[in-house]
Amino acid sequence: MKLTLWTYEGPPHVGAMRVATGMKGLHYVLHAPQGDTYADLLFTMIERRGHRPPVTYTTFQARDLGGDTANLFKDAARDAYARFKPQAMIVGASCTAELIQDDPGGLTEALGLPVPVIPLDLPSYQRKENFGADETFFQIVKTLAKPMARSEAITCNLIGATALGFRHRDDVAEVTRLLSLMGITVNVSAPLDATPADIARMGQAHFNVLLYPETGETAARHLERACGQPYTKTVPIGVGATRDFLHEVAGLTGLSAAVDESGLRLPWWSASVDSTYLTGKRVFIFGDATHVIAAARIAATEIGFTVVGMGCFNREFARPMRAAAKAHGVEPLITDDYLEVEAEIERLQPELILGTQMERHIGKRLGIPCAVISSPVHVQDFPARYSPQMGFEGANVIFDTWIHPLVMGLEEHLLTMFREDFEFHDAAGASHHGAKAVARAEPEDAGGFTPPAPPVGYLEKEEGEQGVAVLGEPVWAAAAERELKKIPFFVRGKAKRNTEKYAADRGVAEISVETLYEAKAHYAR
């Protein structure tokens, strides 16, 4: 039993729904109790889909449990076929149905439906959403895709895009465009927008492009074995990775990797002098491993940030995450407990978080700007405009998205110089953000510095620490507190932490203004 407040991933059957909802002509019959239909709203509300997910829920109730839930499933499967006439069906159980062991696969087989029926075995109490998507797509491919003659022209399949994916729609479009620059056409892109009939002709492609290892790697490996199709290992997120990807494709096809880069703006936007202030800004990166590893490379080598921490919630990718973290000289944080992530962010006091919707909330609470780079996603991560993460346009989008949460360069200088101006003060936030600037209230007590309230996540009080938290810790002298308040908000948290650590390490009981500046000099980069 594990106490969870918020989860990075849903259960595995939600992963299966991401595959089914992304595809066309496929229907999912899910043995599930009332209430599991909540998952529909992920697609209809968050992703704004204009159709219901192609999922039939058997909706068993307590009174059915002693009786015949198996027949309920058979009726639901039969009715779903008759109503929707899919080209293929997937059948499986949600967490509760897994416990009653009705064997949806066997039950559907007995119906003798005239289309392929693919049973899913998704262990709800061991695995999670990404596994569910990866395994479901693998089972569909294994059942439907067969070796066949290669297409005359050089073609490839794009693998891994699903419904509810972070920018999957636009990544598929961008990578399709990128490959067309090399003279390669896309045979099938799947699961997103593919039909079972499309899956059946995947074998025609010369090679596969694995866009999202989290949701497509098992299928890509299978196709490599079963259909002799090699697959690309580089995920083209960022300028360097996109170029590496083009070279990898060139290696597989013998085509030239030299393509028109005239639309690529990130390198100049980064090199132009306005971006100087970005140098060495400390970033913490968290999300799914693929996006985090790509983001760390962009942050360090294409924007000039310093990566102070990185990690992922999907343990399946712990190994590549460790390797990447080592390359950036940091310890990876591999956890699906958001309280641990919050504690780490609080400890590191980065200037920018690149994370998921969870880290966006953490950042909001800690007063640290955040840009979203990975699932889990929310409605605002499905913009109306074209905004891929992959390819050269993706790199442009990333530059804009990551810089936006920060205070602008010149503004940062002015805030540092005139931070006590009553109209132009740091509590008003960045000037290009929507929130209304609030005139600063004069402090009632000139010496009354109130440190920002600590986050009240209940991980705060670990056993044994309760009630004695302040004992032995340095206290702030009034003058030092006032001085601390003069430090701009975007670095104040870090300055406070550093000074306290500096004082504690040296046994300084009371932090004076001198201690503050000694610490500043000590930690100066």
Binding site: L5, T37, D64, Q357
Partner: protein
């Protein structure tokens, strides 16, 4: 006799209409969803769901905006090893609860909330709650109820929660009014001030904002429900000797007036006082509804089952906004609770209980209603087909009760129609 409830309609209303009972796929939330508002209403309570990753994911998705400001709910996720042996699961639960309470000393009430998997593996949360209450008394009281989808639909979660509290409430012989059902704080205050102005008191609330404010109950307690989904709570209060004041629910000017009348009559409030206290807010409510109802008058409405608010809301839309209900679907129909509203709902609409969502969608498509009230899973797909929809969860998450919210309530229904008119007939999808 102006304090009497109005006689039933000449046409007989809908109370005796045949009910279409359906069984099939239900496009509804389970009872766990109630935690989203209950944990805010009860400020010293924590809701610990004993369930699966699906339960945790549901709460996160249903909360929609993922309210990160210190949620007072969480999920103890059952893992493979918990399913192997029950003794183990109990020990794990004790450990998680002890950790939780040591980190949150402000928690005075802990609800262990059963889920589909905990029910199926027959994890005895009632005994666990008893054991844990013993361990953490007197500081924390531990309750348990089931919010599982195999037993509860959406708002029934609140019913199960309140029903679980009733047996533990202290006894009293005092003659008191108990107002039952979670209301937004602003509405609760309005309700209390109206009752106070009528000279009715003392008034107690269930749920209370804090454990120390919990009401007592006994044979001289009379209770009025402000939510139409509290069937089990009604039954448990009745078992404690309390008496129910049947009335239409306080939605709209008429509903609020009739609800207050039922209470006023019980407490012997004279007509002059009643009129004096209600005249101004009634006039305000009528004026506010009139502004909104211009767009609703003559339009048809179709309710998918969702929160059990459907019958009283259909009554409000039909009688106060001039709409024509085509079908009024509700997850469950309770005669004792919904009867007074059914009496007032003009005969005509199909009253349906339960759901087979595919068949109901067929009926909805055929009926082509001007407005469809449905859950979040159906709203955008129906909009994409050209139907105007009102997503029902907003009716639960918005202050809609009593006089001052009557115009807002009508506005929730008129806004989708107004928006559709603004955006023209072309649908983007």
């Amino acid at each position: 006799m102006s304090l009497d409830l109005p006689p039933t309609l000449a046409s007989g209303g809908c109370r005796t209409s045949p009910v279409l009972k359906e069984r099939g796929q239900r496009e509804v939330f389970c009872g766990l969803t109630g935690i989203i508002w209950l944990h805010r209403k009860m400020q010293d309570a924590f809701f610990l769901v004993v369930g699966s990753r699906t339960c945790a994911h549901l709460l996160q998705a249903a909360a929609g905006v993922m309210i990160f400001a210190e949620p007072r709910f969480g999920t103890a996720i059952l893992e493979e090893k918990d399913l192997a042996g029950l003794a183990d699961a109990n020990a794990e639960l004790d450990r998680e609860v002890a950790r939780l309470l040591s980190r949150r000393p402000d928690i005075r009430q802990l609800f262990l909330v059963g889920s589909c998997p905990s029910e199926v593996i027959k994890l005895d949360l009632a005994r666990a709650a008893e054991r844990l209450s013993g361990m953490h008394a007197p500081h924390v009281r531990v309750y348990n109820y089931s919010g599982s989808g195999i037993e509860t639909t959406f708002t029934q979660g609140e019913d199960a929660c309140l029903a679980a509290m009733v047996p533990t409430l202290p006894s009293t012989t005092a003659r008191e009014l108990l107002v039952v059902g979670a209301l937004p704080d602003v509405v609760e205050d309005q309700c209390l001030s109206l009752l106070d102005a009528l000279g009715i008191g003392p008034v107690r609330m269930l749920p209370a904002r804090r454990a120390t404010d919990l009401p007592a109950v006994g044979p001289n307690t009379v209770f009025a429900l402000v939510q139409p989904f509290l069937g089990d709570t009604h039954a448990t209060l009745t078992r404690r000797g309390a008496r129910h004041l049947a009335a239409p629910f306080p939605f709209g000017e008429e509903g609020t007036t009739l609800w207050l009348r039922a209470v006023a009559r019980e407490f012997g409030v004279d007509e002059a006082t009643f009129d004096r206290v209600t005249a101004a807010p009634r006039a305000r409510a009528l004026k506010a509804i009139a502004t909104q109802s211009a767009e609703l008058r003559g339009k048809s409405v179709f309710f998918f089952p969702d929160s059990q608010l459907e019958i009283p809301l259909a009554r409000f839309l039909a009688r106060e906004c001039g709409m024509t209900p085509i079908e009024v679907g509700t997850p469950y129909l309770h005669d004792a609770l919904h009867g007074p509203d059914l009496d007032l709902l003009p005969a005509g609409p199909t009253i349906s209980e339960g759901q087979d969502v595919e068949k109901q969608l067929d009926r909805q498509h055929a009926a082509k209603p001007d407005l469809t009230v449905c859950g979040l899973g159906l709203a955008n797909p129906l909009e994409a087909k050209g139907f105007a929809t009102k997503w029902a969860i907003e009716l639960v998450f918005t202050p809609v009760h009593f006089y001052e919210q009557a115009g807002d309530l009508a506005g929730l229904f008129s806004r989708p129609l107004r928006r559709k008119a603004l955006l023209g007939k072309e649908v983007a999808q």
